[in-house]
């Protein structure tokens, strides 16, 4: 069933001169099992939007339904919702507080009321999933490197075994290697755990390869919604709101403009290479020779 979002609006500091309309009438659906990328320029309302999905912020107007039930309804169990919809915040390492990593990861399961052995089992499973090896489990979370801290924090949410996992810019502030590791991790989790994943990012490259569907946010609204191919075919609209399509899209577009009849909706380097090679015959013989010289 998943999440259903109906006409959501959110205003920060409403009623003062600083009031900000962060979300404007958003309607969409997050069905079970999808891997969704949520992209948008800084300040477009991504973080605000994801905080509504597990009831941390209450919509100024509109409704959100989880498995058909209104999450703002009377007597709705928010704690159960948060166990089902796991949210990893931007810079999640700022939430670490326990004396050692394992105990910190156990915090979530403990709040769910699990007994000691069950929460230990969950914590160990989560730490293994994020690839944090056993020698760090008893270390202080503050002694870990940035990337390791982030893994520990993600494990803290994973240990609650949510059905839907939302990651708010999990790669912010990491080096390229750390970024690839975290993204690889997210993809593996998707394959292994059969979760619904919502990955927030402002980099197209991050999401293009992995996700089934992309939501593009701009100024508190959903501007585009579709498969990566569909979304990246709207290059000029994306550019108008300060985003960009993946590099490959541009190369293929320029090649097409130069007369090579290639498809322009390639997303990854491999795909683009195969596409270009399949048009080898279209390149005039003289130019072929020239390029070899």
């Amino acid at each position: 069933m998943g999440l259903k979002i109906e006409d959501i609006t959110y205003t920060y500091e409403s009623g003062t001169a600083m009031s900000v309309n962060a979300l404007n009438h958003i309607t969409t659906e997050i069905p079970d099992g999808q891997f969704i990328g949520l992209i948008g320029h800084t300040g477009s309302g991504k973080s605000t939007f994801v905080q509504m999905l597990n009831g941390l912020l209450k919509a100024s107007s509109g409704h959100i339904y989880y498995n058909g039930e209104d999450i703002d309804g009377d007597g709705y169990d928010k704690k159960a919702l948060r166990a089902n919809v796991g949210l990893v915040f931007q810079y999640p390492e700022n939430q670490l507080f326990e004396a050692d990593v394992l105990t910190d990861v156990e915090f979530g399961p403990k709040n769910l009321g699990l007994n000691e052995s069950a929460r230990k089992a969950r914590a160990e499973k989560a730490l293994n999933l994020v690839g944090l090896s056993e020698k760090y489990w008893k270390a202080s979370p503050f002694d870990l490197s940035g990337g390791q801290k982030r893994r520990a924090a993600i494990a803290g949410v994973l240990a609650m075994e949510p059905k839907i996992l939302i990651l708010d810019e999990p790669t912010a502030g990491l080096d390229p290697r750390g970024r690839d590791e975290i993204l690889g991790l997210v993809r593996d989790m998707k394959n292994q755990l059969d979760m619904t994943i919502l990955l927030v990012s402002h980099s197209m490259e991050d999401v293009a390869e992995y996700v089934d569907r992309i939501l593009v946010m701009n100024a508190g609204q959903i501007m585009l919604d579709g498969t990566p191919r569909e979304v990246f075919s709207h290059v000029s609209e994306l550019e108008a709101v300060g985003l960009a399509a993946p590099q490959m899209t541009y190369i293929m577009r320029d090649l097409a403009a130069a007369g090579l009849p290639v498809r322009t909706d390639c997303l990854t380097v491999e795909e683009a290479a195969a596409e270009i090679l399949s048009h080898r015959d279209a390149i005039p013989a003289a130019e072929k020779g020239g390029s070899h010289a």
Partner: protein, 267 residues
């Protein structure tokens, strides 16, 4: 809950009150608070209230926003009023069980409540309309003469402005960490007192860590820009009185004089 703390925050907008020289606002607030304890009759309080109302209107800060600040000190206010109400000796008015409300107690506690409410509104209004930077400049300039007595005026005002500046930052940080822990199932609202205090640990540890980190970063950034205290330091925007400010001083003096006259005449 956290959003209710308006004392010490700056409300950004453009108004006559915002543009007023910060020294006028600082001295004005100070003398207003003193005069609140000088007047002690109904007409006196009416004049004080009217003056405050005009200031609030001139500031263009929504009234509800200022009142929200009062909510947080309601408890303190109630305790003060209750103590005065029951513990002032005098002519009994009502009495039940062991408590007696006296006529003196009633008038005194009403006065106290009015004074405290006006005092808080006035000081809230000052910080709402004066940015921390301006406030520091004003403080430094007003306390300037003390430098001759080797009082570290600049350092004191710098510390004050940093403290003020950090209030909203720390509140934002608290909000973020609270949400992050709530996403992990933490519960800050229910349970008995002991549980509530225990629930603060996951909030306070990260908060302190981040506060220390910020303090450290700030110290480093200040040193990197060769900050060395007040000695020989000039200002980018030195405070200069303009015509309106002089006028404001005039109005302030007239108001203070009126209050003193009311007190002396015993109206």
């Amino acid at each position: 809950m956290l959003k209710d703390v308006t004392l010490g925050q700056y409300y950004q907008t453009d108004s006559w009150m915002h543009r007023l020289d910060p020294r006028v606002k600082l001295l004005g607030t100070l003398s207003y608070i003193i005069i609140l304890f000088v007047v002690n009759s109904v007409p006196g309080y009416l004049v004080c209230g009217a003056f405050l109302l005009v200031c609030v209107l001139l500031s263009r800060v929504p009234f509800g926003y200022i009142l929200r600040g009062l909510k947080t000190i309601m408890v303190l206010l109630l305790i003060t009023v209750l103590f005065n109400l029951f513990l002032t000796p005098g002519e009994p008015l009502v009495s039940f069980w062991k408590f007696t409300i006296t006529k003196e107690g009633l008038t005194f506690s009403i006065k106290m409540a009015v004074r405290l409410i006006f005092l808080i509104i006035a000081s809230t209004l000052m910080t709402l309309t004066t940015s921390p930077n301006q406030l520091t400049d004003a403080l430094e300039s007003v306390l300037g003469p003390l430098k001759k007595l080797h009082v570290p005026v600049h350092e004191i005002s710098m510390m004050m402005s940093i403290a003020l500046r950090f209030i909203p930052i720390l509140m934002e940080e608290t909000d973020k960490i609270m949400k992050a822990q709530m996403a992990r199932g933490a519960d800050f609202d229910s349970g008995n007192l002991i549980n509530k205090i225990k629930a603060m640990v996951p909030l306070l540890v990260p908060l302190f860590i981040s506060a220390f980190r910020r303090a450290n970063d700030l110290a480093m950034a200040m040193e990197a820009r060769c900050y060395h205290g007040g000695e020989g330091r000039t200002k980018m925007k030195p405070l200069v009185y303009r015509k309106g400010d002089v006028g404001a001083y005039g109005v302030l003096c007239a108001f203070l004089a009126a209050c003193i006259v009311i007190r002396v005449m015993g109206v």
